[in-house]
Symmetry: C2
Subunit: 262 residues, 2 copies
Amino acid sequence: MTDSATTPAAPRADRIFTAALVVIGDEILSGRTHDKNIAQVAAWLGVQGIRLKEVRVVSDDQDAIVEAVNALRVRNDYLFTTGGIGPTHDDITVDAIAAALGVPVIVHPEARAILEDYYATRGGVTEARLRMARTPEGASLIPNRYSGAPGICWGNIFIMAGVPTITAGMLDALTGTLEGGAPVLSETIGCWVGESEVADLLRNTEKAHEGVAIGSYPFFREGKTGANFVIRCTDADQLATCAAALSQALADLSREPVAGGI
Amino acid sequence: MTDSATTPAAPRADRIFTAALVVIGDEILSGRTHDKNIAQVAAWLGVQGIRLKEVRVVSDDQDAIVEAVNALRVRNDYLFTTGGIGPTHDDITVDAIAAALGVPVIVHPEARAILEDYYATRGGVTEARLRMARTPEGASLIPNRYSGAPGICWGNIFIMAGVPTITAGMLDALTGTLEGGAPVLSETIGCWVGESEVADLLRNTEKAHEGVAIGSYPFFREGKTGANFVIRCTDADQLATCAAALSQALADLSREPVAGGI
């Protein structure tokens, strides 16, 4: 953020920080564009010690955006949005979020200066381009090193571009600026086994290791059935203990565990 | 569906049919797994003449699933879910949806018969495998030609597997069984132009063609800026008229339109 940046803080072990993401765009809901931002934002949040709790994909429709933003911003530490902040008529995210917040839309002086600088050698700032300097009143900016037009931070809301490479640059600019908790660590153990054959083993292993969650993700390859078991925990020792126990239990069934997954 | 299948119907032009999708799974929210079902379900729905209005991604948590299912099932013609119907402890979708509906979970006799048949040569039905025969009371089944365990239909809710190839098989089994409206047709025109340069042109073209929506999707390739303009409309003639007008307007600016997109 270019001003009022949150002070980077050491991870806090005493509570869980959560985030939600609203993906805005008819192109996702029509199936034309395959979303890449959910996984990208999720992975980035994980490194910041923040858990992605919920995602909504909504269309380029003000009521839909307002509903999603207002539902999610109050029950999460952070709310991220992607999409709809370009210069064209279908880019309505800023207006919708301002409406959700009950504040006016202004032309942000710092954003205007950024665009004037960026477009100085690219034909100058036009009315359409100036749309990308509009923010809800009271916002700060998220730098965009790829294409000039900045992202927007307002309170706990982070409004980012939808083009995944530009989203990535904005996330990069935010790295280390948000308070988070202990990151969730994970270890994956793969096995050529049908998950139904080891369902009890998985349930019992999870139960025996408090604070640990085990997810089971089956796959079908080479005409065979396999699964990856993902163990998640914020404590490295507990994680290692559980991973060792699960590997041993699979080996005891003569099912070879594959560290790191298959 | 294996029983109470909806009668296939000719597209109805008199109203819009909508659907919502709930993607269930910690693996999506952790960033480990890149979702493929949103685009797949969206594209399939489009062909059925049904519009995907909204998507929620929620964790393997009963309260989160109940909230999403109950919010979306009442305001859409159809609700689809993916994920969480396997045999392991983290598969809680059936229990959560039954709770949302206020009905008990039963072992569905037809689903049990399918599993007994499928596992006859694969070690037999165990307690874990029988979990995949559980449905909310009053359900019918969606065939799964890949891995036995069926999907579930309850009222306007379609509960499908999360592994994308299995989801695809279930969608295939549902093809043509749901009532829909006129499919949204689309035409894409690409252009090596910054979208901010043609923002007014796009806005005016959309305004001049009622019932037509134009989306603008910028990209950055080969060191250059371009955009694809996607025109959407349920009427083929209106679509063609708008596409021709947009192409002509771009050509008038000496910006070569590329039919089909770039």
